[in-house]
Symmetry: C2
Subunit: 336 residues, 2 copies
């Protein structure tokens, strides 16, 4: 990089080679250990590197090696407590394989996702798309570029992209089973982003739920605690005995509103969340929910991508099961 005024002069490999009295090739070999080099030269190189404070330029390395040493992650919303946990694990995996992590956020706007992914592909060896909301067609187009890519929490039928997802359908089925067993016959579901696969998977569970006697009404809501707070009114008017949140935030928001209204939980209504975000550790609202180990999920997503980069394996879609966590906000139906 050119020396900018006021910036430290940039030390390049040829500065080092000059100082050590060897060729640039030798410096490269010493630093990367790609070939045997005489011990005396090795020493001189190391000394020159140390005294000049040389650090190889990542762009030049990337260009020459044909690898950036970087993976890219796209998330819908950094502020959603779900993703930092995943990022943390992905970052750790990436680091353990000597890669850096680039992060982009779509801010829940499906329209910008495509561009962001394109940008990521320009500077990352592989990309991890977390819960992408973009339409199937765009996703297919991106997949068609043959750039290593892993899908997280989004399955696109008929698209052979390695993916890892939480078994939302199974999780919600467990929730329904739990409520049915407690004698509930009608429940309201505070629905998440309508375009999202994650929401669709949950909805799918309600058809099966009918089989074991639970009818679920859908109320448009959203993915935030505020949305949950606001949607309670509509839910309560539906003659139900239980409220299911799209996620824990929604359920906690609903719970807060119900507390304000003086509604007894779980005596009058059962409330069930989804995701088991770690807020539970601190919030102590003891929400009944279904959990999934987010760190393990992130780790597996990272490993999947890494494997893809190294072996080019085209793995099968992986589903990670959820686990019902019965706590204090669910109980027998009051109409039993």
């Amino acid at each position: 990089m050119p020396n900018r005024p006021g910036r430290a002069p940039r030390v390049t490999i040829s500065d080092v080679s000059r100082a050590a009295g060897v060729s640039a090739a030798t410096v490269s070999r010493v630093l990367n250990g790609t070939a045997r080099v005489d011990a005396a030269l090795t020493d001189r190189v190391h000394q020159a590197v140390a005294s000049l404070g040389y650090r190889p330029n990542a762009a030049a390395q990337g260009l020459a090696r044909g690898e950036w040493g970087t993976i890219g992650v796209l998330v819908p919303d950094l502020a959603n407590p779900y993703f930092p946990d995943v990022l943390k694990a992905v970052s750790a995996v990436a680091r353990s394989h000597g890669r850096r992590m680039m992060v982009m956020e779509s801010d829940e706007d499906p329209a910008v996702e495509h561009d962001l992914v394109e940008d990521l592909m320009r500077c990352c060896d592989g990309v991890l798309l977390c819960s992408p909301r973009m339409p199937r067609s765009e996703l297919a187009e991106l997949a068609g570029r043959k750039h290593p890519m892993v899908l997280f929490n989004r399955i696109v039928p008929g698209l052979a992209v390695p993916s890892i997802s939480v078994d939302f359908h199974g999780g919600m089925t467990q929730v329904c089973g739990h409520l049915a067993q407690l004698g509930h016959r009608r429940a309201a579901y505070l629905s998440g982003p309508s375009a999202s696969w994650a929401n669709a998977e949950r909805l799918r569970a309600f058809e099966a739920a009918r089989a074991f006697g639970l009818e679920v009404e859908v109320v448009e809501c959203g993915a935030t605690s505020e949305a949950g707070y606001d949607a309670v009114g509509a839910a309560l008017s539906l003659d139900v005995t239980a409220i299911l949140g799209y996620n824990d935030l929604v359920a906690l928001g609903a719970l807060a509103r119900m507390r304000e209204l003086g509604i007894a939980v779980p005596a009058a209504y059962s409330v069930v969340g989804f995701d088991d975000i770690s807020l539970e550790r601190v919030a102590h609202s003891n929400l009944t929910t279904v959990s999934v180990p987010r760190d393990e999920l992130g780790r597996r997503a990272g490993e999947l991508l890494e494997q893809l980069l190294v072996n080019g394996d085209d793995a099968e879609p992986t589903y990670v099961p959820m686990k019902l966590q019965v706590r204090d906000t669910s109980g027998p139906s009051p109409r039993n």
Copy 2:
């Protein structure tokens, strides 16, 4: 980059120039708008780009331009709800200036911070260090490299590095004032990471607090809700009427333990947090705390870095004030 088996063949600028029947220089000019180009040629270039699906290689651009178009952010812990909010804002600012964001996490280990920052400097135009725990000497060494760098929540006296920090000292002083006014005379502070500047700043406030009649005992604790939970016992044995947390997580953990022990808050003890993390929105524990607008903080940090990159300005350290949020966990001292 070389074409890997199974990967899409890489389209380069010369492929485009060949297809459009112009020189690579012209393609570059059209794409970057750096010079007037005949309309007919411009069209041909655009068509070639579209039909080939050309995307400039970021590494090559970075190398040629001497800029990566990337900023790097180092955080101690992604799982700490504080940072995602900051990252979100930083990411937005970076994006608005056409830059990407690289994220690294030290996992609260000061020993790895130095290497991570070094790595960031190899591939980012500028770096933002959030609450770095590394010793002053290392920080000084890094600052000496003249690589654009902004410090967030860490002031190093005598080191001329642009920085933006929350006025922790002022915040904690407000907390002490609040408690003193409520008649409290002795309080316990559940102390955070001992090496951290943030903790030192809070401690500093306790000396001043003595002046208005509040004695604060320090209990070693940590930065997590678990640590707060565990430290309650020690705090209660100190003959105090109030407990101050290093942050909200600690305070919430303490609160949870106290609830278990059947201790009335704020009747028997007042509990005060620090940071006002957004968990409050969902946890509804109504913790008294001091707040700081994390998104604004992130935005300003991002802008500071951007300014540094563009103007090379060496701005003065900025302090952002905190604001006392009196809620339900603080009340008059029972010994009044």
